[in-house]
């Protein structure tokens, strides 16, 4: 017997079931199809203003820095300001994202290059799919518009997030993914990011910038 058959039949033997047990199969199919929501924390569930407030509070608590822009066209100036404040070069790496491409980067004296990171970029910019109020988490999805290396290799990761994309909970992010990609289908990588990279492996002391970005900066657009 193949390893697969062996394992499955041993599981069935231990559970005392047969492989053709229709009610069990039906109950699994039903659960998968329903993908019912479980308990989600109340604290994320307010209206848009409350979600924004909760997102900011939670994000800042895990050392994400936050800036606000009234309009997405103000984002380049906000980002330039962040780079200046940290003495960082005025160069950004980003994916080919329609939401980013047409912003007036040059007017803010920022130099742009496109594509994944090979590890030699200091700063990257992504446009978030969504934010999650409950824990101040960003959802980023892989694709030409945001190669996943941009989320991890640069020292400073800057993310633009529309206030209207701040959802209550992770389940709302799953709903968006299902809508975009189809039920049961996922993009290659979905990153839920909650703060800059860190490690506490040396004497439990919390240090930022382990393997991923040392800084995570979010520009929230709109209110």
């Amino acid at each position: 017997m193949s390893a697969r058959e062996d394992i499955l039949s041993n599981v069935r033997r231990s559970l005392g079931v047969s492989g053709i047990d229709a009610p069990r199969r039906a109950s699994v199919e039903a659960r998968l199809a329903a993908h019912a929501r479980g308990i989600a924390p109340q604290r994320g569930q307010g209206d848009a203003a409350a979600r924004l407030k909760m997102f900011v509070e939670q994000a800042q608590a895990v050392a994400t820095s936050i800036a606000h822009a009234a309009d997405v066209n103000e984002a380049p100036a906000q980002i330039a300001e962040f780079l200046r404040a940290h003495n960082l070069p005025a160069h950004l790496r980003m994916g080919d994202d329609a939401r980013l491409r047409n912003l007036a980067w040059g007017a803010a004296s920022l130099e742009i290059s496109y594509g994944p990171s090979a590890g030699d970029d200091l700063n990257s910019v992504s446009f978030a799919e969504a934010g999650v109020a409950e824990t101040g988490t960003l959802a980023l999805v892989s694709g030409a518009h945001n190669p996943t290396t941009l989320n991890f290799l640069p020292d400073n990761h800057i993310v633009i997030l529309r206030a209207s994309d701040i959802e209550a909970d992770y389940e709302a992010v799953w709903a968006r993914l299902r809508e975009r990609y189809g039920a049961g289908i996922m993009p290659r990588t979905v990153n839920l990011v909650t703060g800059p990279s860190r490690s506490a492996d040396i004497e439990q002391k919390l240090l930022l910038g382990a393997h991923g970005p040392r800084r995570l900066h979010v520009v929230i657009v709109g209110d």
Partner: protein
């Protein structure tokens, strides 16, 4: 790491650990940090206890339908362009990965942190095939340099102090300037980051574990704080996920529910920094990410635990809370347990996976204080499961005479919960007293065969001997 267990020498290991001053200093960090952080974050979430109930029920549902979920999960992985491999044993699992690496001409493998890869002895197997395995989690990297096994399932180097790390980096990173300043933890982290960057970029294959496998979508989920698990899977050409069969969850919603208790129980964080959902290889419009995606599903004894009195152990989501709160773990650290999984969860799981003959002492490594069960996010009755092992060990006459007497006494208490609670309360106070002032135990009962339990005052009414005889007689009548 060695897959060869030293669990049979638990008592010797424990005695050595108690005498190790450096270790005792490092263990102080477990006691103070993990417990306070978990308590604070649990207090902040009114839904926490309800989420634990939900997590327990979900895990039980999955276990009861595991065969069907495994098939559904496999179907989705294949649909999304990935490959699924099944491994009955540790050896089979390692062989699958070694063969994959060899057939792709791989010379180096970057590894995200994975306990099951420790369980199957993957690094040694790769090494034997001439392939370099590089651990990339900071803690795992440090202990790999030292040739040690992890001493904790989420904080593998928790037994070390900063000076130990500095000494190791100076010993190994000989190409760096001798006079560099490594006096701050920040400089140690920066050095490891720079060294490992090059290794990620050079690796041909990335191996990660999985916290969850989602049947609905064929997705594997990993949770990390450093981002090493992500670099391990997006930079190399091939991503191999190695996970045990019980890691399945039905839907993304179910995963969300477990994520809400995982980080809080593990590190006291609301959410870990990186929760990454990976499905198949890179897509047509992806500019990075792996070209191949493989999942190795490892049984290695788990299918036998289903339907047995140890089935509840398979609910475990490897958060480490049980060891963080365990007075025995605090006293002796993880290495004393002698195999991959330490603490209360290890005391139950290890005998299930490597046999009670090799791990029979571990279920004795308990004061039965119940703190592990009280913090376990999936409410595994760990003390009860340890008791099952003790009873089995007793039946098999594997225990030395002294433990057998101890077990007899234990069985006596087990039938008198109030008395048991009173006495274990005493035991805890006695342990605290033994540790007074120094934050560590001068002498611990377990190191000399759990004398504390046998030295306790005889129960009211009859003497212990009389009770014991009556108990034996009753048992004989029943069997």
């Amino acid at each position: 790491m060695t897959a060869y267990p030293t669990s049979p020498q638990f008592r010797e290991n424990a005695r050595a650990a108690l005498a190790d001053g450096q270790l005792q200093k490092a263990l102080g960090n477990v006691r103070t940090n993990f417990i306070a952080k978990r308590a604070a974050v649990a207090d902040r979430l009114p839904e926490f206890e309800a989420l634990r109930d939900q997590a327990r029920d979900l895990r039980d549902h999955v276990l009861a339908h595991l065969d069907v979920y495994l098939e559904a999960y496999e179907r989705k992985v294949i649909e999304s362009g990935g490959h699924v491999h099944w491994a009955r044993t540790a050896e089979e699992a390692s062989r699958i990965i070694v063969d994959l690496a060899k057939s792709r001409g791989a010379r180096s493998v970057a590894k995200g942190k994975s306990m099951v890869s420790e369980e199957i002895g993957l690094n040694a197997a790769l090494e034997r095939a001439g392939i370099k395995a590089v651990e990339t989690d900071l803690g795992e990297y440090i202990i790999q340099l030292r040739g040690e096994a992890p001493s904790h399932i989420i904080a593998p180097a928790v037994h070390l102090n900063q000076e130990d790390v500095e000494a190791e980096f100076r010993r190994v990173h000989t190409w760096l300037p001798k006079d560099r300043d490594l006096s701050e933890p920040e400089s140690l982290l920066a050095e490891a980051r720079a060294e490992l960057r090059a290794k990620f970029l050079a690796a041909d294959i990335g191996v990660t574990g999985a916290n969850f496998l989602v049947a609905e979508t064929g997705t594997s989920i990993i949770v990390t704080n450093e981002g090493n698990g992500d670099l391990s899977q997006i930079l190399p050409r091939v991503h191999v996920v190695v996970a045990s069969i019980e890691k399945i969850v039905p839907t993304l919603e179910d995963a969300a529910g477990l994520l809400r208790v995982l980080a809080r129980s593990a590190t006291g964080q609301e959410m870990s920094v990186y929760t990454t959902l990976s499905t198949g290889p890179r897509r047509a419009d992806d500019l990075d990410g792996p070209q191949e995606y493989h999942v190795v599903l490892v049984d290695n004894g788990r299918s036998n635990m289903l339907g047995s009195e140890f089935e509840e152990m398979l609910r475990c989501i490897r958060c480490g809370a049980c060891m963080n709160h365990c007075p025995v773990y605090h006293a002796v650290g993880g290495h004393a347990y002698g195999w991959v999984y330490p603490g209360p969860m290890g005391a139950v799981l290890t005998p299930s996976l490597i046999g009670v003959d090799k791990a029979g002492h571990l279920p004795n490594a308990s004061t039965f204080c119940g703190r592990c069960e009280s913090v376990c996010p999936v409410r595994i009755p760990l003390p009860k499961l340890m008791r099952h092992w003790r009873e089995r060990e007793f039946e098999r006459h594997l225990s030395p005479a002294v433990s057998r007497a101890g077990l007899g006494l234990w069985a006596f208490f087990a039938r008198r919960p109030a008395l048991y609670r009173f006495v274990t309360g005493l035991t805890i106070r006695a342990l605290a007293w033994a540790a007074r002032g120094k934050g560590r135990f001068k002498s611990l009962p377990l190191a000399s065969g759990w004398t504390a339990q046998r030295d306790l005052p005889a129960p009211q009414g009859q003497t212990f001997q009389a009770q014991w005889k009556a108990q034996q007689a009753k048992q004989r009548k029943r069997s």
